[in-house]
Symmetry: C2
Subunit: 652 residues, 2 copies
């Protein structure tokens, strides 16, 4: 994560990190440098700022009173801890979301609230730097005895919140708290080399952020030390009880020896993000093959078409290859958020657009689905079908998802652009602008687009002086008939690869490089690049290995996966056939679900007669909506994967 601030900080200096490793190909452009103007995303960022973050604040202060634990810990009067042992992390994640949001949506009242919280958090810190209200209130003698108790996980979220808040506001009080706690952990484990396996990974990726923020190498060393702890039988504690085994938190093998995805999905995503982060700096040659193999195992055999992962609620994670049931799909919101993190890191490591394709899929579908259009209702699980008994919640006992989706949306600016010495990379198509310093000069870049509703993207490139450099424009895999790299999903009928790219109105001279159209030319102020992506409705089928999708088809348009939902289809969708001959029409409907492109067709629908005995197939107009927008109009039937022809009829 890049910093543009230069502030003295004790014995070291915060500065814009320039560390380039032999592995790391690309550097991201930080959210704090990106202005978002997009017609699709800006309202969502506003909703997070004006609705979701106030909900997180109200939950933290009034309804679930998670702030109280910090106050009680600070008073040191032997009061009780309330809630779960990991609840501190919800406060940190809410703070992190606030930090990102303040960049896009300055709000003095919210900033004041954040400062108040930070004072309370700082007051709860122990003299030795330790900070965890659960153990401060239940007995510090038991701290660091149970890997499952999320002490390090909470520390990781504290670090991330502190860095984000520092990046937006320049205020470093929370950063100092985080540094003191991290130094405590370093003294507790790495320096004496006392084994410790993080029960719920998270701190590893946070430590690399802290290294990049402070340039203090010990945080990188601690991150890597924690990674190296895994897979040697050090992991013990409550987590191994009952059905939880070492593979539940990816502790069954040393990380460099891991080749398959296993266990708890969010833990896995955070771990692999941390590994990719460490590899980007220390160039450990063993990490990249592990990452690539596990990534293929996830994306080729264990990912839903929505980019969601972790099919089972039982272990909140992975089961067997191709076991992707739709109605019971767990697909935790946090796991899709984790897919965004990990795939960004893999893209930065390799410069390959296939990781951005997956990031975009998880972002626009599996993750975005986690937040209601109203901004105040949430999904923990994001199934791909419902018989009508599933709806959004106001909050959760374990409330990781609401603040996680909030911080992801608020930090969207982190994922749009990237840079190398001589190139600007456009990864996501989001109306926005930024200024990127390359070796030879500074480039202003902006995008205007109605994406994902429309495939036209106008990219304006304005260098401060005429310079030769590359513009790397990601051409999504779906625009090249590669919906997802791998074996699981494929287009039923090949769409013509008909994206077009022009520079100042003339066909662009480009070469394709790992999924990017690389335009290598001398750029001058006011240059305009036009990208036009093919936005026809694509019919997607799944490999025969995915039993749940047998004889079924899903619809995708651009990056969006579609679904059919009850309110648009006479209250019922499980009686619809999407036969292979259907013709689809599309139109933007500004009154539907805050404005979406809907997909329609005349499809065969099975209807029972009023006599309760007769039955027939009739043609009816069917409407499909973007998957992310379902469950905003009450509970009812929804399906992503629709039958192609009648096979089995079950009467209910």
């Amino acid at each position: 994560m890049k910093q543009l601030l230069l502030i003295p900080l004790g014995s070291f200096v915060l500065h814009q990190a320039q560390a380039q490793s032999p592995i790391r190909q690309v550097d991201p452009v930080n959210f704090s440098q990106v202005q978002i103007t997009d017609s699709f995303w800006k309202p969502k960022l506003e909703k997070v700022a004006t609705v979701t973050i106030p909900v997180c604040i109200e939950q933290s202060e009034v309804k679930t009173r998670r702030i109280d634990n910090f106050e009680r810990a600070a008073r040191k009067k032997g009061e009780k801890h309330e809630g779960m042992y990991y609840d501190d992390s919800d406060v940190y994640k809410a703070l992190e979301a606030i930090a990102y949001s303040l960049k896009n949506h300055p709000d003095p009242a919210v900033e004041k609230k954040a400062d108040e919280w930070i004072d309370k958090i700082a007051a709860a810190q122990e003299p030795d730097g330790y900070l965890n209200t659960y153990y401060t209130l239940t007995g510090l003698d038991k701290r660091w005895t149970d890997m499952e108790k999320h002490e390090d996980y909470c520390a990781g979220h504290l670090i991330e919140a502190a860095i984000a808040y520092y990046n937006t506001t320049g205020k470093r009080k929370l950063l100092d708290v985080a540094i003191r706690f991290t130094d405590h952990i370093d003294r507790q484990f790495r320096i004496p080399n006392k084994p410790w396996v993080t029960g719920h990974q998270e701190i590893e990726l946070a430590l690399v952020k802290l290294y990049r923020t402070t340039q203090d190498k010990k945080y990188l060393l601690l991150a890597d030390w924690l990674l190296q702890q895994r897979g040697h039988g050090h992991g013990v504690g409550k987590i191994w009880d009952d059905w939880k085994s070492p593979q539940y938190c990816q502790d069954d093998l040393p990380v460099a020896d891991q080749r398959e995805i296993k266990g708890h999905a969010v833990r896995a995503m955070y771990l692999y993000t941390g590994i990719a982060d460490v590899a980007a700096v220390n160039n450990n040659p063993a990490y990249l093959p592990a990452m690539k193999s596990i990534w293929e195992d996830v994306v080729y055999r264990n990912m839903y078409i929505t980019g969601g992962i972790g099919s089972s609620a039982h272990n909140e994670g992975f089961t067997t290859d191709y076991d992707l049931p739709n109605e019971t799909a767990y697909c935790e919101t946090c796991a899709s958020v984790g897919m965004v993190f990990w795939n960004q890191r893999m893209n930065l490591l390799t410069g390959d657009a296939k990781y951005m394709d997956v990031l975009e899929r998880s972002l626009y579908n599996g993750a975005l689905d986690g937040l209601s259009l109203s901004g105040n209702r949430f999904f923990y699980a994001n199934p791909l079908a419902s018989h009508g008994k599933y709806g959004r919640s106001e909050w959760f006992g374990t409330a990781c998802c609401p603040s996680n989706i909030s911080r992801l949306i608020a930090s969207l600016g982190d994922y749009i652009y990237a840079k190398t010495d001589d190139a600007v990379w456009v990864n996501l198509f989001v109306g926005s602008n930024t200024t990127i310093p390359l070796k030879k000069g500074t480039i202003k870049i902006s995008q205007e687009t109605k994406y994902p509703w429309d495939g036209n993207v106008t990219i304006r490139v304005s260098p401060d002086r005429k310079t030769k450099h590359k513009l790397m424009v990601r051409i999504p895999g779906w625009a090249q008939d590669e919906p997802v790299p791998g074996e699981t999903y494929f287009y039923l009928r090949s769409a013509k690869t008909n994206f077009t790219l022009t520079v100042n109105g003339q066909p662009a001279d480009y070469t394709m490089q790992h999924g990017y159209a690389a335009i290598d030319r001398v750029w001058k102020k006011g240059d305009v690049v036009q990208l036009d992506l093919p936005m026809e409705v694509r019919r997607v089928a799944a490999s025969d290995s995915v039993k749940a999708d047998k004889n079924r088809v899903a619809l995708q348009r651009g990056p969006l996966v579609y679904c059919v939902e009850h309110p648009d289809n006479n209250g019922k969708v499980s009686n619809i056939l999407l036969t292979d001959d259907l013709q689809f029409s599309t139109s933007f409907d500004p009154s539907l679900l805050n404005g979406v492109v809907k997909v329609q067709c005349e499809a065969p629908v099975v209807k029972a007669g009023a006599d309760g005995i007769s039955i027939q197939t009739v043609k009816e107009k069917i409407t499909a909506i973007p998957y992310y927008a379902w469950a905003n109009r009450g509970e009812g039937e929804m399906q992503v994967w629709m039958l192609r022809k009648l096979s089995n009829v079950v009467l209910q």
Copy 2:
């Protein structure tokens, strides 16, 4: 349990117990006094003797090697325990089944095998009487520290096996072992009054059997002492981890204060059998209201039409009232066996036939379903619907069910007859004969019947001399339009209550007393009573409170619940409508499923066209079979509750 043997036994005497309590109304007639000649049941007892028991022996000795633990424990050479900590109980239950079976099917080789096992069990006993191979092999210092470890449960099954083997063979070696272990438990807990809550109840009912066998009152006192331990917060140990709470094993309230059914179904059944057993002797006035209230909660609101209980696999037990899903019904075989035990005790306590109605329902449906027709395949769960992915198993890791259904079938003789001072009670209609001593003389009684295929039962009553006494003939609730007492299930169209009862060809002079036709007359040798029960097909509906059965109908004929299964209906049953206008025909088919009465009708069936789009309802001949006989011809669809008219169509 009555004993007819008179054998000196140390300081006390085994004799025919005459203890009559103010509560207990009726005494059972012991299996060892009953010869079974029935055309329905005798082949099943033979199958258990010739197939199931050899399977249990092979599993115990060769496949799961549960006998080895006893040998290792006897050697005391520090060898390892293998398997689960409760595996001793499977050996004891197999022995108990052998004991009952030897009565009906003498087999010197099997008896020799049992004697060998008994020698090994006796050799594994500790000098202080303690007997549990798990703790002997893993460390006796930890015995009696964890209520979940089933030490008392295993003791209970040891006691039951010992008594059964003694009753059949007169051999008392195992009984002596059981007595020594029981005395150890009594010294360990009751005498010092040291709190102990049985984690899996079972020993309580076994202790009452031991009291009735030995007439030593301390065993009754120990049983009641254990009951009184519950509900005072004494229960601790692993069992309270995670999702298991005190109510899981009915330890949330003192037993006399309990009014609702909760928790693990088998634990509950064994507990309530034990309470009813103790109440029958000690006349604790607080126990009967608890029993009656809980029984109503089970039968009125938490029992399947098959007599199965415990709808959830999660806790192997009860959830909320009327939560009775069909496909995911757990209905453990052992829980139906437990329903037979408990309802027998309730019937003996009260003399009310409604308990026998439930016993018969559980016996002929939920329990009998647990054993394949071949005798060597088993069900642990007995669902009421299958989409085709459920089949019988050869054995289970936790193998409670196979030996439990074996011992139940082999001990059928325990449930047919009962007696009071001046009456003989006929509870089940099973071809059989016995001799019952009443106060005024001895009565020979026999039954001849093709029940449950036919409603005619010939009862021959032959007193040794002319005497006036009562013959109490149970008239099943279903024969009086009361399929189950209570709120859950009811007949859609009232069947005429047209049972007939004659004595020597003349209409009998009887009064109805709590579900029994009481014929009070002077009986003489050769008297013949004819009962004719109405056997038409009954359509049963469920209360609206049972959501899973909404708009559905089940078929029942006599005591048998029917189902439709794939092999009889073109491979598919979830597309059938059992509309209200259907006419049913019945016929005995000797070639079907070892001979059953099948129920047939012309019913509407929904069929998809070959084009994969069109669909229509056609009339087809549908065949229903007794529920207990399903899953003997491969995996496929099965349903007990059939749709009455089309409501929801789900395409798959």
